[in-house]
Subunit: 249 residues, 2 copies
Amino acid sequence: MRTGNVGQPKSGTISAAQNGAETLAEVAYRRLREDIVHNVFTPGQPLRLELLKQRYGLSFSPLREALNRLQMERLVVTAALRGFSVAPVSIEEMWDATETRILIECEALKRSIRNGDDDWEAAIVSTFHALDLQVRRMERRAGELSSDDVAALESRHKEFHHALIAYCGSRRLIDLANQLYTETQRYRLPTLTGENPATSRDIPREHREIMDATLARRSDEAAELLAAHYRKTSELIESSMSGDGAAVA
Amino acid sequence: MRTGNVGQPKSGTISAAQNGAETLAEVAYRRLREDIVHNVFTPGQPLRLELLKQRYGLSFSPLREALNRLQMERLVVTAALRGFSVAPVSIEEMWDATETRILIECEALKRSIRNGDDDWEAAIVSTFHALDLQVRRMERRAGELSSDDVAALESRHKEFHHALIAYCGSRRLIDLANQLYTETQRYRLPTLTGENPATSRDIPREHREIMDATLARRSDEAAELLAAHYRKTSELIESSMSGDGAAVA
DNA sequence: ACATGCGATATTTTCGAAAGCAATACGTCT
DNA sequence: AGACGTATTGCTTTCGAAAATATCGCATGT
């Protein structure tokens, strides 16, 4: 089965769990989520276990465990005895996810503004800066964006938005925000990598305004800006989805 | 394996799935959730698979699938290679669940008030009435409350609160509300079945006021009343938890 | 006595195969 | 020819056992 460290020294009392061991079910979970979010599978596509088994080199059990978890995250749907499929996408679903995300993150942002200390502010400034750098780097050499660049951009973007709400004091709000981030990512990524319709949009500026209002502790304004930021994105995706009938489910 | 309907007629083209077939994983999920919510297992208790296998007469696979789903619902926690445990309870967790529930349900209620039609109003009136009847029935013969009565009360209570938000138009908000209902149920039930400290609380009246404000389409007032209703419950549970150090984790 | 390493046991995790359904293709009957 | 029932096929779901890991007890040495 696991053939990893068979002949290796037992390394004393340090257990694999303490070492950050990862079960195969967790591997399956991460890789499947990654592939679904990045549209490696078509929305609605049945996820045949035989296929997944080959693709990931895993067996039924860990795959099924992962699929069950992803089902609870709305990335996978399942019908009684007919297996799993990639959750379909639709404009309605996108807006439901977006508006729910706004509800959650605006509340979390307001609470963060109440609770945040110096470390919180520092993390916001720092993650904003990293994001900004990456954006400029990619603007400079547009046209030839490597997948590493796109991945880095996604990371910085996620880290910035996480930093804003990190001090809300609610594990649930943070987890929900992360989950909704992942859900909406499915809609954002195709637009991001596809042609950017030279939109009259200055995203770095939007981020800066959110940061400024946040650091100035202007709760309501910051929340309004954050909501507008997300709605604007969804509107652009909506028109790009209905414009060219590309990814409309 | 499944020995259910082996020799039975195939009943034409009607498939099991159309009949509402249920996989064993779903059975495991429902029964485990039921038992965790009703504190059949102690919070924090390890859920040994051998035990569950015996208790439910199921095998590893469906049990593990159910546990993975429950983990995503925060009813079960898991450590790398150390199996599953019942999620611990604490006053902090209860308040996080309560306040998140308030955020979700108040928003859903406001949207329902915007969207609700005659059927919506009818369902609210009807479920309120059913709940009220059950409460009075149980008040009449207090002391000797059967577990059926308690179960019926829980059902009516859930149905009423569901009816309020049913027309919010967001699958996500409804599902989150259901999930948080289940989470908070773990805290409510022990207090409910235990001694009721003859509190100066008129719950039917609180419900009626929420209903009245809702049907009169007074959004903000209805949301305020709903939030106060949930907070009051959590406050009573908190004092009962810290008073007698019973269920404090 | 205390820490450390080793062995035995309990438990989780994973696998491969068997069993059970669903969907389809086929044949039979009217 | 069309409808109905029946095998066939492919997939999901479930099982029981094997492998990997954690945990506990014990001995050994300092």
